[in-house]
């Protein structure tokens, strides 16, 4: 076999060299450039995870274990996903004051959104789970309110009442009111099933379905919602209305009757 250099004056030599050079450049670019970008992302991500881990060690580890594996006081957080963290922490449910009691109530959130994102990044790094939804997913654009009402009545109304006012469950547990709850958190709750609420994953309740449900809730249960009859009395249905009518309506009439009869019309007051 001749030496390669012996063919350097071959008419096709220039073409071969050019091709090799192009391939090498392209290959090198492919090997380094995206890797560099990914590395930058990864650094930001690992920074968030590190910060989240510190926050976790302070606020969560006593119940959920040092590595999120769970203890007798709190469930494992492996695989619950960023959406669950964002819901639980941003609605103030976590960190819970105690693991006793029927259910952890909603309360004032003590973390900033940036801290919550760091916590979520850390928990998400423990195991794959649903990520935090974007505005596009829960926003009102392209939502069908009527379909949302149908879905809400079929899937949610049994516990949360027809217009999301909430209701009682067993042994002191309850389905909380959905009034004034951030649409993002409603979406996350459907996705992750916090506490005793069953989850409604995208496989059984699609993204579009969730968007429709949120739009319906916004239509029937917001500050701007019109109540044509006025005085909705909590919106919990005819029982409250009947009770109000009997006690306050009839009560007022009885009080007026007593007042009228108690005042004498005689000239000489006895």
């Amino acid at each position: 076999m001749k030496k390669l250099s012996a063919r350097r004056r071959h008419p096709l030599a220039a073409v071969v060299v050019l091709l090799l050079a192009l391939a090498a450049t392209g290959g090198l670019y492919a090997a380094f450039a995206p890797a560099g970008k990914a590395q930058a992302d990864e650094t930001a991500q690992s920074l968030a995870i590190d910060e989240g881990k510190k926050l976790y060690a302070v606020g969560c580890a006593s119940c959920h274990g040092t590595g999120g594996q769970g203890t007798s006081d709190g469930p494992s957080l492996v695989g619950v996903g960023a959406a669950a963290v964002d819901f639980q922490v941003a609605t103030g449910r976590m960190p819970a004051a105690t693991s006793q009691g029927a259910q952890v109530p909603r309360k004032k959130n003590i973390y900033t959104q940036a801290q919550i994102d760091q916590l979520a990044a850390y928990i998400a790094s423990l195991g794959a789970g649903p990520s935090v939804p974007t505005e596009e997913q829960y926003g009102p654009e392209g939502a069908d309110i009527a379909k949302g009402g149908e879905l809400f009545r079929n899937n949610c109304a049994q516990c949360h009442n027809f217009t999301g006012k909430g209701g009682a469950l067993t042994k002191g547990k309850y389905a909380p009111t959905l009034e004034g709850v951030n649409p993002k958190h409603i979406y996350e709750a459907m996705q992750t099933g916090p506490q005793n609420m069953p989850s409604f994953p995208d496989t059984t309740l699609s993204e579009q379905n969730k968007k429709d449900i949120i739009a319906y809730l916004n239509a029937v249960n917001s500050d701007e919602t019109e109540t044509p009859g006025g005085m909705e009395l909590g919106g919990i249905g005819p029982v409250a209305e009947g009770l109000f009518g009997w006690i306050f309506g009839l009560g007022t009439l009885i009080a007026i009757a007593v007042w009228v009869a108690a005042r004498t019309a005689k000239a000489k007051k006895s």
Binding site: L151, N154, N155, Q158, C159, G167, L169, T170, K173, A175, G193, Q195, N196, M197, P198, S199, F200, P201, T203, T204, L205, S206, N209, E224, T225, E226, T227, P228, G229, G230, M231, E232, V260, A265, K266, A267, K268, S270
Partner: protein
């Protein structure tokens, strides 16, 4: 307390007004009837100007009522039916509802208030006594009625012509039977409809939300899914009748958490399918708590344990929720392996 402390009009001796029937105490009536207190006049009885004032007040109330009625008609005509206004404490209320309710309320209230004021201040307020009488008719009237009845019976020959009497009784006893027979027309008998649903072996389990057949991987642990049998569409005739029996809820429980042996056998990888209809009075029951696996009925608080064969753990329900036996077909979709073994929904007479 001596008799000097009692105001004069309350003393029992004032019998000279003539109202009381029994003024004197005797053996049979040991306490004397005090009778009515003496009549007291009102300002309006004494002062004509006060009476005029009362008259004007009553007339004013009636006039306000008339104005309110005119206001009612005007608001009905003038206010657009979809206009909404904000009223403090009432919220965003429909303007027309509010105006109609307010004006009609004022109109009715003013009629009532006017009538009461009129009655109290101007109409005569002299107390009248109406004596009570025995309800029984006097003896001669009673004797006359019995005599008339006897004579009528005699003239009609009812007692003598037994054939007429007996056939008449027969005819009158038979007539109500027509009404009883008509009750049969209230509807067809249920036959065995209560014992069967649309579920059959091989029917796919279709998600109510997406109208797509479900795969085992779609149903996550802790999730809740409502399903219907394949081929039953919402716009079908009789959809409501069929879904009322066939409505299904699917949950997924870790197989090691399932306590009931039959439930585990009838499940697929921990996915269990139960009837959504409460066995007490048939309410849709789906208040599912995913951590305890309890299902609560909102109507009467019957609670079922879905990890233990839907056993009743609280409340008035008499039977566990019927379970549907499920499996997976060749294409990987969830399917029913038959109908429910027992009738779904509330118990009935012949259920056994």
């Amino acid at each position: 307390m001596s008799s000097q402390d009692i105001p004069e009009e309350n003393l029992p001796a004032a019998q000279d007004t003539g109202h009381g029937a029994l003024g004197v105490a005797d053996e049979k009536h040991p306490f004397a009837d005090p009778g009515l207190p003496p009549h007291e006049p009102r300002i309006q009885d004494i002062d004509e100007r006060a009476a005029k004032r009362s008259e004007r007040t009553v007339a004013l109330l009636f006039t306000v009522s008339m104005l309110a009625t005119i206001g009612f008609i005007a608001s009905f005509v003038a206010i657009p039916h979809d206009k909404s206004i904000y009223v403090f404490t009432l919220g965003h209320i429909n303007a027309m509802n509010f105006a109609l309710g307010l004006t009609l309320g004022v109109a009715l209230f003013c009629i009532g208030a006017g009538a009461v004021h009129w009655g109290r201040t101007l109409m005569s307020d002299h107390e009248l006594v109406q004596e009570r009488h025995p309800i029984e008719a006097p003896a001669d009237v009673r004797a006359q009625v019995f005599e008339d009845f006897r004579q009528g019976a005699k003239e009609s020959q009812l007692g003598r012509r037994k054939l007429i009497r007996n056939t008449m009784f027969g005819a009158m006893a038979m007539v109500p039977l027509s009404g009883v027979v008509l009750l049969r027309d209230l509807g067809p008998l249920p036959e065995d409809k209560l014992r069967h649903t649309l579920w059959r072996k091989g029917k796919l389990i279709v998600n109510m939300n997406t109208n797509e057949p479900l795969r085992p991987s779609d149903v996550a642990v802790g999730s809740l899914t409502f399903a219907k049998p394949e081929g039953l569409e919402e716009h079908d005739h009789g959809f409501q009748n069929e879904i009322a029996k066939a409505a299904l809820m699917l949950v997924r429980i870790q197989p090691e958490d399932i306590k009931d042996k039959r439930e585990l056998e009838w499940s697929h990888e921990g996915i269990v399918a139960y009837s959504k209809i409460c066995t007490h009075v048939g309410c849709p029951i789906s208040l599912y708590e995913q951590q305890t696996h309890h299902v609560l009925c909102p109507c009467h608080q019957s609670t079922f344990d879905l990890s233990d064969g839907a056993r009743v753990i609280f409340g008035p329900a008499g039977h566990p929720l019927p379970q549907l036996r499920i499996g997976v077909n060749d294409e990987g979709y969830l399917e029913a392996l038959g109908d429910f073994e027992e009738p779904v929904g509330p118990a009935f007479w012949e259920r056994g």
